[in-house]
Symmetry: C2
């Protein structure tokens, strides 16, 4: 039997940890040229709203997964903005 | 009053459409150098599992949002693999 909750947990884990190699790559290389700032701004806003949703309904998996992903996404946003400012200076 | 469902819908919309500017950027520039292949492989696997989760529990917002995001993420995977193969040839 397939357990939907188990699949959901694995899915949430993967869509969260997926951002770890991206963050490591950006920190190591300082290269964010191919990365879309708009993507990360929209994505981070969406994650922040998922976090609000989780807090309102007190859904702890939603709160935990989206807090971690938001933290990771904001690191990418930080390096992308740094690069954009450098390019414009 | 804050409606949690409305916040969830806006959150799902933003985390899905976020990938549109990234896909457009990759198609236009063919540049995927700063993008982590591991991120998109893990993320796509996670989205596929979210899709299975949505299909098992017949949650149509989960099915729709994750189908679209998976489609967009796989376009980035395609271009990233193309670039990786080019770089290794």
């Amino acid at each position: 039997m397939v357990n939907p909750s188990l699949i959901g947990i694995i899915a949430a884990f993967l869509t969260t940890v997926a951002f770890v190699p991206q963050v490591l790559r950006v920190i190591q290389t300082r290269d964010t040229h191919a990365i879309s700032l708009w993507m990360y701004l929209l994505f981070s806003t969406g994650l922040a709203l998922w976090l609000v949703y989780g807090l309102l309904l007190w859904l702890w998996p939603v709160i935990i997964a989206n807090s971690i992903t938001l933290f990771l996404a904001l690191i990418v946003v930080y390096f992308k903005i740094q690069e954009t400012l450098r390019a414009n200076s």
